[in-house]
Symmetry: C2
Subunit: 579 residues, 2 copies
């Protein structure tokens, strides 16, 4: 392809809306344009990368016996009523009516559609196990799309669904798929990916893993043990907390203290003269299923983990908003003494177990209690609802403190069990003729997010550094002063020669300065660059450089094409060697 014809302007200015390197470079390099919040058009360079990523995914799915299908984007409500998710999933599920008044939705995931298909096609145990997958457009009505292709509303996703006759078989397949995912990231040239245990969330099911690309700008946080390799995302991570040491003398009476203006924790600690960890604070949620408040107490130096609360009470939760006290809660001064625990759903974090002489709210404005003894609370009121911090010790080996890292989720896999097959009445006839419910797994990976993550992983200030396996083009030819007959002839010849050899070549045929040409080449990030210029031609050479700067050499004109082929093979080998 000739660069003069390529659609997609490139420019120097950093787009003001872009926080992430990938977001900014994708816009600057003419890879994508926003059409609406979180909705983008991909231009030719990005479409080419996406197609290559899709091919890698397809090959790896086929390798683990996946069968490609195509399910619809628009689904009828009835399917999601069967699973119960039409009601239970929030507003990120886009619902609408078609012209005949039927309730429809834009699918953001396809468990229901997969079961709808499989239940008529796999009625005998002989068909099992099997996996079906698709690479397809999804829509998720995000309230706050952000980060360019990292969190969008419309996206291309590979989603796969496997069906099994036993949990053991699911587990075996689940780890085959885990390995396929690792191969996908490696083949796409994405390093720094780790799998972590995760919450199955709206998917339901038991074991789930997220594949996290570790990067400072990632919006997810994961807990890692540097000693034993324990890894979990924040939603499920646990840690062993150092106990509060000296809590003072036993047997002190509860004492009411006037604390005017001490609604914040640090002002309260200063006022009373205690460390944060001797304080107990409350967070109030609204339980989505009932609308009622849930009060969660946690040690003053820790934070409440919403996902853990969600799992604990079996319902989605949201921050309580009507803090006018009409629900009988004295916001800002909540404490367990005198709180009606039959009226409210109340939990205490494990960090509070065994504590006494604690300071907490007195359910009265500007008032706290001192010396509260939590050892009197019933044991079943305690649960792990706090966020892991780096002061905690690994729950697996107990040998080192947890390290928190940021990351971007680039894939997830779930052991769903029978959640969907059971509610949707899917059965198969077993060997003995009895009807059984299949066990399912599901496996997702977003194409656009993976593309953006590769840029996060591999770029400099001037543009992406594409791994050769997914680069939009493998070779970039710069013809400097193409008006020069010799330059034009050689560059045109190389373009033809390399294209004939099967390389994807982007040929900068424009009558522009070397500076402008090179800036564009950097933004397009092609792995191998061939520079044809009058100065080099005088010496009978061309310059060959790699975008990653590992190679920069002058090569005799007649060897140029074969040297490019060598370098391309070496770059690909570097990727293959990681497998």
């Amino acid at each position: 392809m000739k660069l003069s014809a390529l659609i997609g302007e490139r420019f120097k200015e950093w787009p003001s809306e872009a926080q992430l390197a990938s977001h900014g470079l994708l816009i600057r390099g003419g890879y994508m344009r926003q059409v609406a919040g979180g909705i983008y058009t991909l231009l030719p360079p990005a479409k080419r990368v996406a197609a290559k990523i899709e091919n890698i995914i397809r090959q790896e799915m086929d390798r683990i016996d996946g069968q490609e299908i195509l399910m619809p984007v628009v689904l009828p409500r009835e399917l999601w009523d069967e699973s119960g998710r039409y009601e239970s999933v929030g507003r990120e599920l886009l619902r609408f009516r078609d012209r005949t008044g039927h309730d429809m939705l834009l699918a953001m995931t396809h468990e229901e559609a997969a079961v709808h298909l499989a239940r008529t096609e796999a009625k005998s145990y002989l068909k099992y196990p099997f996996m079906i997958y698709q690479i397809q457009t999804k829509y998720r009505d995000e309230a706050r799309s952000r980060g360019g292709l990292i969190r969008v509303r419309e996206f291309t996703m590979k989603d796969a669904y496997s069906f099994h006759t036993s949990w053991e078989d699911l587990e075996k397949y689940y780890y085959r798929c885990h390995e396929a995912y690792e191969r996908i990231y490696k083949r796409a040239g994405l390093g720094h990916v780790v799998s972590v245990k995760s919450d199955s969330g709206m998917m339901g099911g038991a074991i789930a893993h997220e594949f996290m690309f570790l990067c400072d700008d990632g919006e997810d946080t994961i807990a890692i043990c540097p000693a034993c390799g324990y890894r979990a995302n924040m939603e499920v991570a646990t840690g062993i907390l150092d106990l509060v040491g000296d809590m003072g003398p036993e047997g002190l009476d509860v004492e009411e203290v006037a604390t005017p203006g001490c609604k914040e924790i640090d002002s309260l600690c200063k006022f009373i003269g205690i460390p944060e960890k001797m304080l107990m604070k409350a967070v109030v949620f609204t339980k989505e299923t009932t609308g009622t408040p849930v009060i969660v107490f946690v040690r003053g130096d820790l934070e409440v983990n919403e996902a853990k609360v969600r799992r604990l009470i079996g319902s989605d939760v949201s921050a309580r908003v009507d803090e006018d006290g009409s629900d009988g809660i004295c916001y800002g001064y909540i404490g367990p003494v005198g709180l009606d625990m039959d009226k409210f759903e109340v939990y205490f974090d494990e960090s509070l177990r065994g504590m006494y002489n604690v300071v907490c709210g007195a359910n009265k404005v500007d008032t706290h209690y001192k010396n509260v003894d939590l050892r009197q609370l019933p044991a079943e009121k305690f649960a792990d609802v706090s966020k892991v911090t780096e002061q905690m010790v690994c729950p697996q080996c107990g040998k080192a403190h947890i390290t928190l890292k940021n990351g971007i989720e680039v894939g997830n896999i779930f052991q769903l069990g029978d959640k969907y097959s059971k509610t949707m009445g899917m059965t198969y006839a077993d060997k003995d003729g009895s009807l059984k419910t299949p066990i399912m797994g599901c496996y997702g990976i977003g194409v656009g997010r993976l593309l953006a993550s590769v840029i996060e992983d591999s770029h400099d200030d001037y543009g992406p550094i594409w791994p050769i396996s997914i680069a939009p083009w493998q070779v970039h030819i710069n013809a400097i002063k193409r008006a020069d007959d010799q330059v034009r002839q050689l560059a045109d010849g190389l373009y033809e020669q390399l294209s004939d050899k099967g390389f994807e070549v982007l040929y900068d045929d424009r009558d522009l300065s070397a500076g402008v040409q090179f800036a564009d080449a950097d933004l397009l990030g092609t792995p191998i660059k061939v520079i044809v210029s009058p100065r080099n031609l005088k010496d009978g050479v061309v310059e060959i450089k790699t975008r990653d700067k590992s190679i920069a050499e002058k090569v005799p004109v007649e060897n140029a094409a074969s040297r490019v082929a060598e370098i391309a093979a070496a770059l690909q080998k570097r990727i293959d060697d990681t497998l």
Copy 2:
């Protein structure tokens, strides 16, 4: 792939809902399943065919310098407000609100999105001409989806948009694209495709063509001249009508006739004793833009063409429903005498020009006029609004009668002009620096409909006969009595050998009778079949047959693989030779 693992049940029963061969065979063969009205899941065999069709389309689009991009399915209302189509397009455009209350839509075509992209990326004449295309999911809220994959709500479509600096340049490119389309159909093995002039409809613009696959079960009709090759779809086809011969004596007075019970044309003709063509009938439409009635008169033996009326009055129309006469129209007895032509929009078909002694309604129940002279009407009231019939003569050569054929539209191309670029304010700087509006073309082709059309074109009672270029698999191996060691070893070996040679092989490894295996093979329609059976092995041969029955031979075991390769090459050559 082993057939025992393939997802998608096949069965004998014809599905009751299927009228078309393609619809029935796609269901019987395990190619697709309906999820909602006009919304299907494609199973592996159909997904494989679709992918091959997409690849052919992609190659042909790249061959005419197309650049592949990916635009969103979900678009914001604002874009369609700019073009005016948010208001003007009917309910087939699915509109909805996102969670933030923004008006959005599910795109059924992408002129607006293409201009939105191009207007920031092609600001200089140097970029022109260019063409961008995508292969992507579309949604069209059809009131009555039908015919399996022929008329669906959700579908995969290749849509392309070209941009030019002059009409001449557009026209040149338009015919390049026309040729690319012809190559696509040929490469997909679809015969009997002709291009016909068509109405540009909701697209706007001037010249447009539809590619029609001629087939008896097609729901579209096209007019063809067997003498000169004139072709047009019914919406734009014209014809030269034989004039009514003897209309009787001149100068007769208009005469009122009581015609009780003669609301239908044939009863009226019998009652008065005239042929249909001496009668004039009226059809009343509602003009969508204003809600007012439009009265169209046509000769009694002809029908009104709604598309022609639409173009004539510049608005969508629908059949008038409130026939209670409250609008001042005497339905069933409408005639021009005494009709207030200032109050109503009234047109007369060209077939009526020059007629006299005509019978028509008297705008009074059970009453008609005789001897009405239409020569008194102003010339501008006449227009071509009738449907072409086989009694008409070709308007191009005048040498033969029109033939009407049924067909399925498998593609369309439009010379849009500046309809979208102008309303959406797209400009480029010309050589002299002045701002100009680009001229556009657009080019669509539906993947699923093409797939179904190939089946319509190429099937027998037992299943599709896939052209080798798009067949889900090229080779089908039947192992008959695979329990036999020799059979198994040879079949397994051939499966491996042919797969290694790069063939896509479907291997029927099931312990089922030859009859069941062969029925499945027919439904899957693989071009080349290799049958390994104990009986054949005794003679040291396998049977090789083509699905199209052109070849059926016994081949020595050791030559089987090379013979398959030969046949595959010959089948492909047969397709290539049509190019």
